[in-house]
Amino acid sequence: MVANSSFAGNVISLTLRNFRASLDREFLVIQLVLPLFFIFVAGFGYTLIVPHVQGISYETFLATGAIAMTVMSSSMLSGTMIWFDRNFRMFEQILMGPFTKLQYITSVTLSVILTALASAALVFLVSLTVSTGVILSVGSILELFGSLILGSLFFGGFGIFVSLRVKSSEALAATMNLMFFVFTFLSSVFYPSSSKYLVLRVIFEVNPLTYVADLVRRSLVGLSSFNPKAEVIALIIEGALMIYLASWSINRIEL
């Protein structure tokens, strides 16, 4: 008469449920259009003005940045997943079942990490058609996926945190849109992370998307602007902090 399962078993069950119930396939396809648009439309256009950046073609620079951007946008879907669960009260229903809040949050994070990796892999494969000088080895692929997972952890946690703090779907959509632009344009996705203003330089350098984009470029084309070890450590710290904030929010939420 008792529902018994291990922590991992429960997380897997919830993750499978998230994939079936919470991920909107149409939305997933649509959100893949944006990075492809940047690679094929904006990329070709800007290449006429800026042929090379830091010794690589601008198309390659932009394509590797688009992989990082895809991870961010896919991971931030965690916010939408939780929002819909809250809105249709499956959030309470699951938490009244044989699961803990930690298992639920872990399952949402795992769901978006897997989604982000799949989306990034797709963008990566497409980007190969325009990128030059890409290093393809087991090491570079592992390095690429490792950095994407770390980035996904941060942005997944960020989505969860925001969805638990806002009061309406409009506020969620507005915050996510705003933060998408803040993270993207204050990072090295489209251009090298430098600015003549100190404040912007600081934001560039604490923005996890800068680290993800930089690590992606390092793994695929050997280009790096920062110390990669420091970037990995920074991503781990920022990711852990964001997951902590997400857990703190879910524990404080009044049902």
Binding site: M1, V2, A3, S5, L16, A21, R89, M96, L255
Partner: protein
């Protein structure tokens, strides 16, 4: 050895935002195998009590045990053993009814074969066979509600907590569901904790009921005993031929000492009068109608209902300033 209570609640209190008292020192016990009803008006504290028992809301003070487990410390052990139907709808909007049920059952560790057996046994009882392969968002409110209730019967649990489960169900579906609950308790020796504001449901279904008002438990017993304890009065129903005599009748009743309460029906010229001395009331009214040469349509005497008990109790509590 003494059997553990299914639920035991001691001085349970929940205050939201430091000022809104939702549940106020509630205490009660539910025996295993019992259908226990928690009755009250909207906002009386029923759903908050359920959320605390389901361990998703922490009490401000006091405590409760479910199957011997502490709600504040052993939430997961409790949640493994209960099934909860929330008062508000909860569903996965993008899935078909069948996929949603299968996913929900799998969350509880019910394998595909067992799910298939259980769904086949239940689907007709809940009249959902025809809509099983439709997306939930296209179902009617009543169908979605039946689906939500059915879901909790797919997995094993020792206590079913049902928060106003029949909202949105039509009369036949409601009666069939209540009968199904009775069968379930008999057959599987499970316990049902049931909240409703439809008093007739509780009277039909529950072994014992507690009445909650402004977060306080103000009465607790079997429906029969509650009626005995709290209403020695009976109700006289007077049906007039038309509205013309109603004003005078109300004025006369206002002046009568043995009238406890009166209720004028909305759509018919009918008045229900609760009285401690109904025979004297009938005699007085007959004399009145005779002296006025007024012919009434009918006058009858009825036994008090649980609703009368609640109206009486809640009315008294409100009049005594307990808010």
């Amino acid at each position: 050895m003494q059997e553990i209570d299914a639920i035991s609640v001691e001085d349970l209190t929940k205050i939201y935002a430091g000022k809104v008292v939702a549940v106020d020192h509630a205490s009660f016990r539910v025996k295993q195998g019992e259908i226990f009803g928690l009755l009250g008006l909207n906002g009386a504290g029923k759903s908050t009590t359920i959320k605390m028992l389901a361990t998703i809301v922490s009490p401000t003070s006091g405590n409760a045990r479910v199957l011997g487990y502490d709600i504040s410390k052993e939430g997961l052990e409790i949640r493994k053993r209960i099934g909860v139907v929330q008062q508000l709808e909860s569903y996965d909007r993008n899935l078909t009814a069948r996929t949603s049920l299968a996913l929900y059952a799998s969350l509880w560790g019910v394998d595909k074969k067992e799910f298939s057996n259980r769904i086949n046994a239940l689907i007709d009882k809940f009249e959902l066979g025809e809509v099983l392969d439709r997306k939930i968002r296209w179902l009617s409110y009543g169908q979605r509600r039946r689906l939500q209730v059915l879901r909790e019967f797919l997995h094993d649990c020792e206590i079913l907590i049902l928060d106003e489960p029949t909202v949105g169900m039509d009369v036949l579906a409601r009666r069939a569901f209540l009968d199904f609950c009775k069968e379930r308790v008999k057959g599987e020796k499970s316990t049902i904790f049931y909240t409703t504001h439809i008093v007739s449901e509780a009277e039909y279904l529950c072994d014992r009921v507690a009445i909650i008002h402004h977060g306080k438990i103000i009465a607790l017993d079997s429906p029969k005993e509650l009626k005995k304890k709290y209403t020695d009065a009976k109700t006289v129903c007077v049906v007039l031929k038309d509205d013309s005599y109603l004003t005078k009748l109300v004025k006369v009743l206002d002046g009568m000492q043995n009238v406890t309460r009166k209720e004028i029906m909305e759509d018919t010229p009918e008045i229900h009068i609760v009285s401690q001395d109904p025979f004297k009331l009938i005699y007085d009214l007959s004399s009145l109608f005779q002296s006025d040469s007024y012919e009434v349509e009918s006058m009858s005497l009825t036994e008090p209902s649980l609703e009368d008990v609640i109206v009486g109790l809640v009315g008294d509590q409100t009049n005594n300033g307990v808010k």
